[in-house]
């Protein structure tokens, strides 16, 4: 038993030593550690304000890409899911098209560039799709006609590790079921 404890102790010391060697944690980061207050938040039960539940989807729905300028991709900033001002005209044209085609339903795909971690990108992609959906609901579209899916970083449209490829891959994509 003593030996095991001793091993553990030495092990921890080795880790701390390795850490100091590796120079992990710049001075700036240490400052940040000190200045941030501990954060304890009580989550309030119940659906949050502004949540718009997704309606159950029919298994028969097949969403296809319409080769129309109406359904241009919208894009996002790195690690963000806020709808950008420059994509508002696209979302307005999608909303207008949905008003003219009252039986159509839209699947909003959320995608990410390769730079984040795989798991977080999956969550981020969903948040991007949900943000676009929320915007369309704000434009008066029935939320039951809008559903979402995240592909995270699984389906890039542009290959390569360039800023141009990344910005194309951070996107919301619209597919339509009639």
């Amino acid at each position: 038993m003593k030996k095991v404890l001793a091993l553990l102790l030495v092990g921890s010391m080795a880790v701390v030593f390795a850490l100091s060697l590796s120079g992990c944690g710049s001075k700036e980061e240490v400052m940040e550690d000190i200045t941030i207050e501990p954060e304890v938040v009580e989550d309030i039960e119940g659906v949050a304000d502004g949540d718009i539940p997704l309606d159950p989807r029919s298994d028969d729905d097949i969403y296809i890409d319409l080769l129309s300028k109406v359904f241009a991709d919208i894009n996002f900033e790195f690690d963000q899911y806020r709808v950008l001002d420059r994509d508002v005209p696209t979302l307005e044209s999608v909303a207008a098209w949905l008003r003219e085609n009252p039986d159509a339903r839209v699947l909003i795909e959320g995608h990410c560039d390769e730079r984040g971690t795989n798991e977080y990108n999956m969550a981020l992609g969903e948040q991007r799709a949900l943000a676009a959906r929320r915007y369309l609901v704000g434009l008066g579209i029935d939320s039951g006609r809008l559903t979402t899916i995240s592909y995270g970083e699984e389906r890039p449209v542009a290959l390569g590790s360039t800023e141009d490829a990344w910005s194309q891959n951070r996107r919301g994509h619209f597919a339509v079921a009639m």
């Binding site: 092990g11 304890v40 795989n118 999956m122 995240s150």
Partner: protein, 441 residues
């Protein structure tokens, strides 16, 4: 440490199906008195016990003595408690002399630097592989373990792993990890599918076969089933796949996200992210996917839940502060406490089997590294270096080893890391990416 074997209490293999039990204990004088042996070899700080591993006696079709020694050497060195006597030429000469005299030349073995000696004989038949091993405490000049093992010929490595685990249990007093498995995702066939391999990277086998994009495997504690997420008909489905039969059973297919299924330590509950209420949140469900109960509330993103080993808490990722950070809450919801403060991108937590640490991925100077945070003190320790991105750590049941993926040259591979020795060992190679590892219980 959790899972530490009581000294002197032998463990039999979980995997080898017909290891004979009491009948196979060979006649060893004083074998039951393992406690004395253990104390006798107790050493100073951090030193390892040196073990001499002569080639086992025997022959057979597909396995030779050096294959067996390679497995034992890997298992014992990797356990963190042993160093293997390196001069194999002298080791094998000494063994040859022992065989000629029919005895154990304890002074010779000690002169080679050995403290423990493992001798054995094997038979590699067409259908069965069997092994008989003796473990000697050289200082005391006596045998401390004698045991016979057998298994299917195709699973001879598991038979040898069983011996390794017994040696680790006897000498180090811990349950070894030599029979554990690692589940992961790979795109070697084109589409990402779920695979399982032995903990040392051997015996890789494909588990999902439907060619539907499959991600994020997580073990049920029975070691026979994996929860994961797949894409079918333009939707995500959380599923269970049987590792033995490959049969897939659907858990959830809510509209939106159905991802990051984390099985509770006893297997009775699931935690996962769903977006069915219009936002990405953590839910708790029954093990069959029924009765989802929402645990987090707000407009932020809540993802990647993992359970504490006692099942009472859940760690997860939230961007409620403006950047992804690790948080902890009770597994029934309620108060949420932030754990990580250093760095602006902390994701993919995994809770250690001892409950004290959470391993996670942290962006440090633009590169994703593997770190741990102490759940009580919030002290952060960085475990990896170098410019390559690493992510998705998963703990071995010994609380000492982690497996994670590292991207290099455009390809991701899996690496094993002993957190006390910090020398990563590559487990996968060839033909695609290897991602999202999950170490079995």
């Amino acid at each position: 440490m959790k899972g530490r074997a009581k000294l002197g209490s032998m463990r039999f293999s979980r995997v080898v199906p017909y290891v004979l039990s009491a009948a196979v204990l060979l006649a060893v004088s004083g074998a039951a008195d393992a406690r004395d042996v253990y104390l006798n070899i107790e050493k100073g700080f951090g030193e390892k016990i040196t073990v001499a591993l002569p080639l086992f006696e025997g022959a057979g079709g597909m396995v030779d003595a050096s294959n067996i020694r390679d497995v034992l050497m890997f298992d014992l060195s990797n356990s963190g408690h042993f160093s293997v006597v390196e001069n194999l030429e002298f080791v094998d000469e000494t063994e040859a002399a022992d065989r000629a005299t029919g005895s154990v030349a304890f002074p010779e073995w000690i002169a080679l630097g050995g403290e423990i000696l493992v001798k054995g004989a094997f038979e590699a038949g067409l259908s069965e592989f069997s092994l008989e091993a003796m473990v000697y405490d050289l200082g005391q000049g006596k045998a401390i373990l004698g045991r016979k093992y057998a298994g299917e010929a195709g699973r001879w490595r598991d038979v040898v792993h069983s011996l390794s685990n017994d040696i680790v249990a006897l000498i180090a007093g811990e349950q070894g990890i030599a029979l554990t498995k690692i589940a992961f995702v790979s795109n070697v066939t084109g589409t990402k599918q779920i695979y399982v391999m032995d903990y040392d990277g051997e015996n890789r086998r494909r588990i999902t076969r439907d060619d539907l994009l499959a991600i994020y495997p997580d073990w049920f504690p029975d070691g026979k089933r994996l929860a994961y997420t797949r894409y079918r008909n333009q939707r995500q489905e959380a599923c269970i796949v049987s590792v033995t039969s490959g049969v897939v059973q659907k858990l959830t297919s809510f509209p939106g996200l159905n991802a990051f299924v984390a099985v509770s330590p006893r297997g009775g509950d699931l935690a996962m992210s769903l977006s069915r209420d219009g936002n990405t949140e953590i839910y708790r469900l029954q093990a069959d996917g029924a009765n989802p109960k929402r645990l987090t509330f707000g407009r932020s993103t809540e993802s990647s839940p993992c359970w504490s080993p006692d099942g009472r808490r859940i760690a997860f990722v939230s961007d409620r502060s403006g950047s992804p950070q690790i948080y902890v809450m009770n597994s029934t919801g309620g108060t949420v406490e932030r754990l990580t403060y250093r760095g602006g991108y902390n994701t993919s937590p995994d809770w250690s089997p001892e409950g004290d640490l959470i391993a996670y991925t942290s962006k440090v100077d633009g590169v994703f590294q593997i770190c741990t945070v102490d759940v009580e003190t919030k002290e952060v320790v960085r475990l990896t270096t170098g410019w390559e991105d690493k992510e998705d750590p998963s703990w071995a049941p010994d609380g000492r080893h982690l497996v994670y993926s590292m991207e290099s040259g455009g390809k991701s591979n899996l690496y094993m890391l002993d957190i006390y020795e910090l020398e990563p060992l590559r487990l996968t190679s060839g033909g695609g990416d290897y991602l999202s590892p999950a170490w079995s219980f």
